[in-house]
Every structure is written in structure tokens, then in C-alpha cells.
Symmetry: C2
Subunit: 345 residues, 2 copies
């Protein structure tokens, strides 16, 4: 089967630009899938915000991400964006939905098959939609982030753009927290570890829970030992990794994938993460970082960071979490879908 | 054209049961349309919550209204409810959407024509959807609640169930506020009028803005002169009208229709309303109540309430805001749509 003559539509969210300026994990991955498919010679159309940047065909009705333009009601932008794609479904052989659950509810009204990568269950209640559409094609982003009732075609790990991340043989001297500032991500635990170790901590990322930031983090911040540096774009992130001794990812709930873990390791930075959810799928414990169960173990892990071979970290990402690797996996999934669709006819 | 052999789907919201237990204006009207069509011999299917009550065929996937079961994410219930209807579109000759803007974004993916009654623009941003679907069929619920850019087939005033409302020749002695407790509805102005007139005020309805209630209303409440009696169901409402001298509807933004005005007049109760939006379409100024522009005028109007002929109030509703009248109007609209659809073929 020559599948490369198939026309693929990639449906990205419209919370942020694709790729996002700073934060926006789903848009990052949707963008990476798109660019990777283009590189492999596919005919790809990206449905994203109008200000998105892509080498694929861009189709858009939403000017800017609703997180970047608060005059928009998110639901309004979402449904206009989705219907704009669905109404052109006949122009495509496959729609690869990276949006969330809402597009599924349009999927039985179109003839084009839709593949949905489930980037995360934001609430148990959204399972009602996924479970109502068990006839859909699903991909999980880690083996751990699966709902037992859903049929999945595969797990495809997120792939990252390695050319944006400089490998650094020499370690920096700072602990780093990178990610959404939210209790789920354990920013407060990173502060606890830094204080116990007596090391400096840089905190980077968007503040998603302002109350958490104000009450549990702000009292500890200063201009020297524990600093909040704000959100970082890919260039700033690369510079941040130069200063990084290890990334502390002390998530308090199961991680769905952990993009930041892959990004850090790509720079040669070992990571310390809670052994919850997908972290043990992304990190090789003792080889590219450490899985821990509490703050004490994290403190002990910091002391052992020198044992980690930084080249191994980079290599692990190159082998498992590159865009190239992700796109090859998705090509297998697409081929499965085309065969299943052909057999229906 | 024999249009009575056509199969009609009425799509109701799923915030509340259809008909609602107490508050729920859109569900009330969707229910009234449904029962009126059944009475006229149409083949009608109502899409609403599972606990809904109807003489039509009931189709439902959502157990309870999301306002009555806060474990639900409204968007999840909404999209499952809408897609459930859309996926059965081929079974109907017309879908009458009383939901809101979201179903429009599915409408080009189905072959069945969809009529949308716009029950109100909850925010200017939702106009983006309506204006993107100008090929849709629209009905407004008053001449004043129209967007100048949209094409409308007609204005169809809401119709109410008159058998639930007892006509009372004898006036009660209390001022009454009935409706959502929200600044838009001017509950605070009703209190001001009551205090100035030295009359008792009964306030009935759901509290939609708790802060408004706590800060601007609660300090004035007591067990005698200014009482909050909570939400009322149709039976309690009927009893409330027995005690009513006049209903104070001092809305601070343009009214879209004003269901409570029709309900009060049906009981023979004259109404005093701000001259904003649809109020002058629902009330005959000086004959079934008074249109006012401020609290002072409202106070003067209270003094003139005796001049209103209570029979005239009831008669006005019977002639203009009955279910029978509404359904006849909708039948004309349906017929228009069937003709337009036939001419497309």
C-alpha cells in the first residue's frame, strides 16, 4: 500500500498558537507531528490558529489562541475551529485529532476516519465521551495513561524537536523546575528539596494556579537562591538547561507523558521524577535520572546525579522521543487504519 | 402540502429537565413547543434529559440536567446530547434547535434542515457562531432581540401553558418579584420601589448571582415586609399570583422576551417593567401594565395599577402568548422551510 499519497488533516487545539510561543504541550506535539509528516513527504494540512507556523498547508478560522486573547469564549472558538475542519472532511483521507474529546462528537457525521491521540484526561467526566465513541481510533501517549475500557491501536510517545535543544556535556549548578506552576506538578516539593540540599533553584513556567503560587511558593522566592523566571520559550529553555544540574519533576498525580523530562534529557540533563504514571516509561531509572517516591528520596537522588552519564540521556531521547521516531510510529497507525477502513468496504 | 406527516425533532437544552421543575426558561419553551405540536397531530420526538416528561417520543442520553447534578461537566453533557440527536438526523424532516449555538456547528454535516430559535445572546462573542451560519434558519423570540446581521424567518413569541395559571379577578396586596435573582433582572430596584411605596414585597426565583444576593439584597430581607421565598414551581407560582398586586420587572438590560410578564398577565396580574428590549412587545402600556424608565416612574405606576383591567391582561396573553398561538406560528415557519428545501432539490 502506497500510503504517502493519502491526505492527512492534523487538528490542533486553539488554546495557543501551533507551535506555542512558550507553554502549550498539545499544540507542541500536534506541531511536531505535522512537521514530521511533511518531512516524510505526506500531504498534510494543519488546522490551528491563524498565526500558527507550519510547512504544511495551514487552514484556520480562529485568529489567535483563546489563552492569548481573553475576549474569546473558549467554547465558541473551539466549536468553530472543529466544525471548520469537519466541514472539509471529504478533502482528507484521515483526520488526526489532537484536540480533545469534542471532535469525537462530530466524527460519526463525516465519512473520513478520525484518529484521536488522547493527550490526557483532564477530568474523569470526559471519559463519558471517549467511552461513547469506542468505535473511534485511539492512541495513548503512554502505556500508563490509558483507560481500561477504551480500545487503543497503539501507544505513541511524544516526540520533540531535538535541533532546538543543545546537548551539554558539562552540568550547570542549579536545580530547575520547568513546567506549569500547579500543585499537580509539585513545584512546592522542588522548593523543599532545594532548601534541604542547600542548592539554588530556578522555577520556570506559566502560573496556572495563581492561588497556589501566591500562598505556597511566593513566600519562598527571592532574587538569589529560589527564583521564579517566568515562562520560557524554546530558546530561553535551551539557555536554562546550560545552568541546570538536574530537573526536579516531583509530580503529585500520575504523569500522562512528561514532555519536560524528554526535553531535559535531550540537553544531557538528568531528571528526578516521582514514580507516578508515565515517568518510568520516559526515564531509565539510574541511567537517565532517578524515580523517587518522596522528597527524602529526591534529596538522596540529587546527591547521586553525578553518576548519570549525560550522553546516555541524550541518546535515550534520540532513540525513543524524537519526532522521527514518533512519526514512524504514527505512520504504522495510519496504515493500520487505512487497512481497517479498506476492509470495511 | 400536507406537512403534518413530517417528523419533527425538538432539541431542548440539558441544563434542566424539560419541562423544568422550577426555573429553566429555554426548557419551558422547548417543552411547550413539543406538547403543542403533539396536540396538533405532529410526529414529534423530544431530545432532552432522561427524566423529562412529554407526550412526544423522548430520546435521551443525559440522565439529569447538569444544573441539577453538579458532577457533570456541562460541555461533556452538551456535546453528547447534541451528537446523539445529530447522529439520528436522517430519521427526521426537521430539527428544531432550542439549545443554543453549539448545534449549529454540526448542522452542515447532516442533511436534515435545522431551525434554530435564538432564545438569547448570552454574550456578544457567541454571535461569531450565528454569523458563521447565516445559511441556517433562524427565529427570534422578539423583534427587539435580533442581531442586525442575521437573516430571520420570523419572530415567534414564547407561548405559555395557560391551564397552569388561574385567572384571578381579585388583586392580592403584595408586590412581587419573580425571576432569576441577578442584577440584570433588577431585584434590588424592586426592593427600592417596595420601600418607597411602603408595600410588602415577595421575591421568588433561583439565586443566580450569590454575591449580588448576599450584598445588595440580603440586608433588606426580613420575615414580614421584604421576603425571599426561594424558587417556585408552577403550582407555587400560581398560588403566589393570588397574593400579587403587581409584578415588578425592573430589568436593567434589554429583555429578550420576558416569560414572567406573560405568566403574570395570564393570572390577571398587571406588570410594571422597564422599557428595555422586548417589554413593550409583551405589555400593552397602560392596558396590561406599565412601561417605566426608572424607579420613580415605577413607584408612580404602582399607584395607577387599579386602572388596569385584569380581564384584559388575561385576554392579551390568550391572544398573543398561548402555546396554541406559538405553535401555529411555528407551523408557518416549518412550512416555509419545507418549501425552501423542496425548491433546492
Amino acid at each position: 500500500m502506497n500510503i504517502k499519497n493519502k491526505r492527512i488533516a492534523v487538528l490542533s487545539p486553539v488554546a495557543w498558537r501551533t507551535p506555542p510561543r512558550a507553554y502549550g504541550a498539545w499544540e507542541t506535539v500536534a506541531g511536531n507531528i505535522t512537521e514530521g509528516l511533511v518531512k516524510h513527504g505526506w500531504d498534510v494540512t494543519l488546522f490551528a490558529t491563524k498565526d500558527s507556523i507550519t510547512r504544511a498547508n495551514l487552514k484556520a478560522v480562529i485568529e489567535k489562541g483563546y489563552e492569548e486573547d481573553k475576549t474569546q469564549i473558549p467554547k465558541v472558538s473551539e466549536c468553530l475551529h472543529i466544525s471548520f475542519c469537519m466541514e472539509q472532511a471529504h478533502k482528507f483521507d484521515l483526520i488526526h485529532n489532537n484536540f480533545d474529546y469534542l471532535p469525537l462528537t462530530y466524527s460519526r457525521l463525516i465519512k473520513t476516519p478520525m484518529l484521536t491521540t488522547i493527550h490526557g484526561f483532564s477530568s474523569p467526566d470526559i471519559l463519558r465521551v471517549y467511552r461513547s465513541y469506542k468505535d473511534a481510533y485511539y492512541v495513548s501517549i503512554s502505556d500508563s495513561d490509558r483507560d481500561s475500557e477504551l480500545p487503543y491501536l497503539a501507544t505513541v510517545y511524544n516526540g520533540i524537536e531535538l535541533s532546538n535543544i543543545t546537548f551539554r556535556q558539562k552540568a550547570g549548578d542549579k536545580l530547575v523546575f520547568l513546567g506549569r506552576i500547579h500543585p499537580d506538578k509539585g513545584t512546592h516539593l522542588a522548593i523543599e528539596v532545594a532548601k534541604t540540599c542547600g542548592m539554588d533553584l530556578l522555577i520556570a513556567g506559566i502560573i496556572q494556579d495563581q492561588r497556589y503560587f501566591d500562598t505556597l511558593l511566593k513566600p519562598h522566592l527571592n532574587d538569589s537562591t529560589i527564583q521564579y523566571v517566568g515562562p520560557v520559550d524554546p530558546v530561553q529553555r535551551d539557555a536554562l538547561f546550560e545552568q541546570t544540574y538536574t530537573v526536579l519533576h516531583l509530580n503529585t498525580i500520575p504523569e500522562r507523558f512528561g514532555l519536560v523530562l524528554a526535553e531535559a534529557m535531550a540537553a544531557g540533563v538528568p531528571v528526578i521524577a516521582m514514580d507516578l504514571g508515565s515517568c518510568r516509561e520516559v526515564i531509565i531509572d539510574g541511567q537517565t535520572g532517578y524515580l523517587v517516591n518522596n522528597v527524602n528520596e529526591a534529596v538522596e537522588a540529587v546527591a547521586k546525579i553525578d553518576h548519570i552519564d549525560r550522553k546516555k540521556c541524550r541518546q535515550h531521547v534520540e532513540e525513543n522521543f524524537s519526532i522521527e521516531r514518533m512519526v514512524c510510529k504514527y505512520e504504522n497507525v495510519y496504515e493500520q487504519i487505512f487497512r481497517m477502513e479498506a476492509s470495511k468496504k
